[in-house]
């Protein structure tokens, strides 16, 4: 299982199903909800990868970074824990609870660590702290054999592996979790064999991505993020989207909407027709961040601490549907998956190509 990229451009592709649910009031949604939503689209996957992201999973450790690590070999634990203890303050460590089931054969080992930046660091310099966490994640993924960081955000738990969505949910005991924002993904990898690290969501800090599609611009995007120290080690094109968003939003200071229009930029012919102010704005974004635009078919859901972003490619080559009822908003590959959790939505629609759907928690929402 221990696959490290042996080539400079390793990746694989997927046709997949994705789902996300958010309660804008900040109330917890049961883990089972996302499982049933996703399981209704079981035929979009082939059992070679499923996963979930739960925002609000760890209220008792909500101010610590929660680092989930997958070990393909028990021997990899020691160097990882050594690294975490050296570079960070380890607050709590425990194995991720799992249930051994027949459908999941030979799973790797999962641990989660709740960590703080070292005392020597200025706690108000969030950017430096985030950079440190990103570097440690890259370091573990690249340097320590058989160890992969599954997630590294605050109050965020990511559970993923090789199996159908219901089996992975049972294995990770998804019924025991709840959160204000849940993401799920079922995978149909078509180029390389499914492996545990290749299941979605892909994450860095608070960003988590589930993706259906294939990134034709992968080589361009990968080489761009590499210029800023990111390392694509997980053999799949989706990983690069997580790094792109971290780069654009956290490092380049773009708003979500601006970042979305970098990933799926308006066509030049449409920019030509805009008023001068908008024209300059979109021209500057496209020209400056051309290497970050995603080409090829995609539907992505991106979770972050305050909400969710849904986005399609510029010519909508993958499905993405939104439904809402009151404060609950669900976004999924198929309407059936939405009706599984919102049987009678107030509204259901298909966003236009390249049109970002951004749903954030309400001002008064308490996580």
């Amino acid at each position: 299982m221990g696959i490290k990229s042996s080539t400079p451009y390793g990746k694989d592709f997927g046709g997949c199903g994705l789902a996300g649910i958010i309660d804008r009031s900040g109330k917890s949604v049961a883990g089972n909800m996302i499982v049933s939503s996703l399981t209704s689209m079981k035929d979009r996957g082939n059992g070679l990868g499923s996963g979930y992201a739960v925002y609000g999973a760890y209220p008792e450790f909500k101010d610590n970074f929660g680092v989930h690590v997958m070990y393909n070999d028990a021997g990899a634990r020691e160097p990882v824990e050594q690294l975490l203890k050296t570079k960070l303050k380890l607050v709590h460590a425990e194995p991720v609870p799992v249930k051994k089931i027949h459908a999941i054969a030979d799973p790797p080992e999962f641990w989660r660590y709740f960590v703080d930046p070292p005392d020597s660091m200025d706690k108000t310099d969030e950017d430096a702290i985030d950079d440190l966490i990103v570097n440690i994640v890259m370091d573990i993924n690249e340097r320590i054999d058989n160890a992969y960081v599954v997630s590294s955000g605050k109050n965020l738990g990511v559970f993923k592996g090789v199996g159908h969505p219901d089996a992975i949910a049972e294995f990770f005991k998804m019924q025991d979790y709840s959160g204000y924002l849940l993401l799920g993904h079922t995978r149909f990898p078509t180029n390389t064999p499914g492996w545990w690290g290749g299941a979605h969501p892909f994450t860095i800090l608070d960003w988590s991505i589930v993706h259906n599609g294939e990134i034709s611009s992968y080589g361009t995007n990968k080489r761009y993020v590499e210029m800023f120290g990111y390392k694509c080690t997980l053999l799949t094109d989706t990983e690069v989207v997580a790094y792109l968003l971290d780069l654009l939003i956290r490092k380049k200071g773009l708003s979500l909407a601006a970042a979305a229009s970098v990933l799926a930029p308006p066509f030049w012919k449409d920019i030509e027709d805009m008023d001068p102010h908008k024209k300059d704005y979109y021209t500057a974004l496209r020209v400056s961040y051309a290497n970050a635009s995603l080409n090829g078919p995609f539907a992505i859901l991106m979770g972050f601490d305050n909400g969710i972003l849904g986005l399609n490619d510029r010519i909508k080559l993958r499905p993405l549907i939104v439904g809402k009822k009151g404060d609950i908003v669900a976004i999924a590959s198929e309407e059936s998956a939405i009706r599984e959790v919102i049987p009678e939505p107030d509204d259901v629609w298909a966003p236009k190509a390249g049109e970002p759907i951004i749903v954030t928690l309400k001002e008064d929402a308490k996580q």
Binding site: F13, G15, S216, S217, F267, V287, S288
Partner: protein
Amino acid sequence: MLYKNPYNHYFDYVVQRDIDKCIRCKACVTQCSYGANYYDADRDLIYSLDHNCVGCMRCSTFCPTDCISIVRNPDAFRLNANWKDHNIKDLYKQAGTGGIIITGMGNDKPFTNYWEHMVVDACQVTNPSIDPLREPMELKTFLGRKPDKLEMNKNGDITTKLAPQLILETPIMFSAMSYGSINYNVCESVARASKELGIFWNTGEGGLPKALYGYGKNTIVQCASGRFGVSPEYLNAGAAIEIKIGQGAKPGIGGHLPGEKVLEGISETRMIPVGTDAISPAPHHDIYSIEDLKQLIYALKEATRYEKPISVKIAAVHNVAAIASGIARAGADIIAVDGFRGGTGAAPKAIRDNVGIPTEVAIAAVDERLRQEGIRNEVSLVAAGGFRNSSDIIKAIALGADAVYIATSALMAVGCTLCQQCHRGRCAWGITTNDPELSKRVNPELAAERLVNLIHAWSNEIKEMLGLMGINSIESLKGNRDRLRGVGLSEVELQALGIKQAGI
């Protein structure tokens, strides 16, 4: 002693004429500018002086009865794997004249052509191809410095002002060819085509004829070591300025314009006397180091109020990546890298055929180096040197180029048949000659149309290729080496190109 120089006997071509079909129209006689055909009135027959024939095909093309065939001289030296025909002939020539052999066009030696060892990926099932007949397909390209980060104010408005950019409707430009090396009509053809296509042409080092100032918005004006034609007015007339450090066909030496080609208009534009050789110095005499280059870059920016991107063109040489990095850091907005297959109006043959490296590996090395240093965004990279078709261009962009320069192929669109006689100023196709009678053979209106046709055809092919890769914007191909594979290359060659072997 030899009574006759063997070179004059062992000539390259033979003009064969079918007397039965010849109607004595004398088109071949008037069309040949090298004196290879003549009419014998006494016998009412047309004969050829084969040793004058350069193989340009002008006569056979213009023969109304197709009675002429130009064939390689079957009279052959004894086969010798070491002493090839051209080695022997060049030696005889030099023994006869004591001179450096000058030639025209690009390196014609059989070096590995890496374009022919790279193949392009296509979509199947998992990723739909995009049909350019039915979906928008974007080739618009911006050349110039890009900001590392756009600063925004509280309202989310962008406060960073973009550096000046060249905006191309398709990632192809006409490379530097000086007025003088090509005549005014060809300059005008290229300028007209650029305007119509929304791309750029490059003056080369010969200055800009006054009558072409109207095409300034589509013109890159060059500033080379000879400073021919450079004035404040000239620098401000173009859309961008290019400092020519080197040329792929003759790295390390300056431009050559034989005095035979320096006629009135050229003399005026270059600001030199009629009939004098215009031999540019090998280096710029104010650039002996990278810091000197920086001074010139900023002097030119000052002279044009920071309104125009500054390009620096270098020949592809062994250390091209490090040099390009220095150029980027010296403040250039565009770097043009000219590989050793790039053409020339005149160059010593020994240099043309033996100095420099292929564009393919140079672009790969430069792009990779600039990325490693995190400064790839600060400059645009233009590949030049021997592009023959749209697929060469696709591959160059996938290796990391932002756009390409073409010149030989542009001249071919106008009629050039690659006879390599540009330096003689007698071009029978009316391209690399300033002889008023010969120059008339190029009609700017018709030539511009052929150039436009060529670029349209290539752009459409590029769109098709992007579509089959599932890409609808050229920017998603830039540096996307993942979509290339190598066939028949060694591991170290694959490594130099930064691509994987086909099948992996």
